[in-house]
């Protein structure tokens, strides 16, 4: 489509003209050159970020190797840098966030694309966009003063009473509730990634061809059966992509998490009520203390790990989205 639209432009500008005025020709190609050169800056920047982080982390990478990722002892005084508790905290909180946010986001996206009356769609979509635009410091503020007291006062004791008698699950609710823990961080993250997942899922659902729905409905299926058997299977890779992008956002969130997670590098524990660190909150809390070269290098390596994980998820998500916009094999209309 875009190729077709673009072709007349090509003809006019690049086509053979017998009497080109030299000055104009120079300005035209000069402009293109400048624009192209500036467009290379994002590329250079991305390469620069990876290269500089690698360079500065090399001391820690060489010295600790894979122990950096596997050891659970983070002790700057004795120059022991094992980031396993931070990695665990990041994965744990992000998974809580995804488990809480995905069903709600998907449900809301389905409501918006399949049920909502036309007049409601735009205002709701705008609200979601706004929710995505709220700075993370404000979520942190809200988490600190509103969510944490509620969780500590009523939700967490309730969870404890409910789950403690069940043998294996009880490990999730061990320990006292102090209002700074993985669960609260996970819930705040869930609220933050909800609009991310919702807006992508909505776009993906809108890409499902209308004829697919109509075909199903004309066979006598109810609206829910249409969703279940046509819309969701068609959109599945895209929904997976939305989850990945939500997860990537959760992994990198810093301030909101820092304010409610407690920031103590405790042992790795499966309890939701453990105060801990994520990679991002560890960086934010410790960068001012990094006086020694190896400490500095270890913190840069934390950022590098975060970057690589986030990039991998972004790339995967984009591949999946590209697949949805092509549609499943044989389903194209």
């Amino acid at each position: 489509m875009s190729q077709l639209q673009a072709s007349p432009r090509n003809l006019i500008t690049h086509g053979h003209r017998p009497r080109l005025r030299a000055r104009q020709f120079t300005l035209d190609s000069g402009f293109e050159f400048v624009v192209r050169a500036l467009a290379l800056v994002p590329l250079a920047l991305m390469i620069g970020i990876v290269a500089l982080l690698l360079l500065n982390a090399s001391l820690a990478i060489v010295r600790y190797g894979f122990h950096f990722l596997l050891d659970s002892m983070w002790d700057p005084v004795f120059e022991q840098f094992g980031a396993a508790p931070f990695i665990f905290g990041t994965v744990f909180t992000s998974l809580i966030a995804l488990i809480v946010a995905l069903p709600i986001a998907l449900g809301a996206a389905l409501f918006l694309s399949e049920y909502a009356p036309a007049w409601l769609r735009e205002p709701l979509a705008f609200m979601i966009e706004l929710l995505a635009a709220i700075p993370s410091i404000i979520y942190g503020l809200w988490g600190l003063f509103v969510l944490a007291p509620i969780m500590r006062g009523s939700v967490e004791p309730l969870l404890k009473n409910l789950l403690a008698p069940i043998p294996v699950v009880s490990a999730l609710v061990e320990g006292p509730t102090i209002g700074r823990d993985f669960l609260i961080a996970g819930i705040i993250l869930a609220i933050m990634i909800l609009p991310t997942i919702l807006s992508i899922a909505r776009a993906v659902l809108q890409a499902v061809p209308q004829a697919q729905r109509e075909g199903m409905l004309s066979l006598g299926a109810t609206p829910w059966e249409t969703i279940q058997h046509v819309v969701l299977p068609y959109a599945r890779p895209g929904i997976l992509a939305a989850s990945l992008l939500g997860l990537a956002r959760a992994l990198g969130e810093t301030m909101a998490v820092t304010m409610v997670i407690g920031n103590s590098s405790s042992k790795i524990s499966p309890s939701l009520f453990t105060p801990g660190y994520t990679i991002a909150s560890a960086i934010a809390n410790q960068f001012t203390e990094a006086d020694k070269a190896v400490y500095f290098s270890a913190i840069v390596e934390l950022a590098l790990v975060l970057l690589l994980v986030a990039m991998t998820m972004n790339v995967l998500a984009r591949l999946l989205i590209a697949r949805v916009s092509r549609g499943p094999k044989g389903a194209r209309l």
Binding site: L45, A108, F111, F145, V146, A248, L306, L307, M311
Partner: protein
């Protein structure tokens, strides 16, 4: 699939349909009510903090009456200004390249990299600028480093918004311009960009406003300051950093000021989100 459809009785299927409709509606209500809860709470808590002193005074030590976020406002605006000077031309130029010239491998690569850049966690951008400018080039925390970090965050957003808006400009306008003998560069600068101007301006300001709400990268680069400072080589105050330091303090009065700052941030971002939406709706 076929068997499940034919075997279930119609009333049962209608019941399931009704239940799921209700459930999906509840999900949407829940998502919307979370936003409302946050907005209402920030407004109620933040309004009492907004007085003249809040906008004009510097943060005072605890116990002194008054005090505000003026250095933070000044610092945020200064750093955003510099970030805009660096990031906006780069973003718009990249968008022009992608929308008007970009074809083939290089364009796909750049588009891919812009998407990647948008997905880099903001704390990582902070660490990058910290390791580079703060520790190696300048030697201390500085407003300049903060501005560079914000510029890096702004570039991908400006590029995406601008590219989208340039693509909305009808080809007939370009063709009309070419038909009058106008060259391509003039057409882009004086026909295409002005047509998309309103959207590009609001989109850019929204990108800057969002960057202005970033806390983690600023913490690592400019650190914060309790005093007025316009020297880019020195640490600068910033609104999100001020909110953070007020929020983690033990004082009730400072908490109110944190909410006031939060309200200010949300109001600015909300206003520009609305404007951007109006312009892109008009474009379509």
């Amino acid at each position: 699939m076929n068997t499940s459809l034919s075997q279930a009785s119609l009333s049962r299927r209608m019941l399931i349909n009704g239940a799921m409709t209700l459930l999906l509606t509840l999900c949407a209500l829940l998502a919307a009510s979370v936003l409302l809860a946050i907005l209402v709470y920030v407004t109620i808590q933040g309004l009492p903090a907004l007085n003249l002193a809040f906008f004009t005074e510097r943060p005072l030590p605890y116990g002194e009456v008054g005090g505000g976020v003026a250095p933070a406002l000044l610092g945020t605006l200064t750093m955003l200004g510099v970030a805009g000077l660096i990031g906006v031309p780069l973003g718009i130029a990249t968008a022009i390249y992608l929308a008007e010239y970009g074809r083939g491998m290089l364009a796909s690569l750049i588009r891919f990299v812009v998407d990647l850049l948008a997905g880099v966690p903001s704390i990582v951008v902070g660490v990058f600028v910290w390791a580079w400018l703060v520790r190696q080039v300048v030697g201390n925390f500085s407003g300049l480093a903060g501005a560079v970090a914000l510029a890096i965050l702004v570039i991908p957003i400006v590029t995406r918004t601008t590219e989208e808006l340039i693509r909305l400009v009808p080809d007939s306008l370009r063709e009309a311009s070419y038909a009058l003998g106008t060259r391509r560069w003039r057409t882009i600068l004086f026909v295409v960009l002005p047509t998309a101007r309103a959207g590009i301006v609001t989109g850019t300001v929204l990108a800057l406003a969002r960057a202005g709400g970033e806390t983690a990268p600023l913490l690592l680069t400019t650190l914060g300051n309790q005093f007025f400072n316009l020297d880019l080589r020195q640490p600068m105050a910033a609104l999100p950093l001020q909110i953070y330091s007020y929020a983690v303090s033990p004082y009730e009065d400072w908490h109110t000021k944190a909410w006031g700052g939060a309200l200010l941030l949300i109001a600015v971002i909300g206003a520009f989100s609305l404007l951007t939406r109006v312009f892109s709706a008009r474009g379509k």
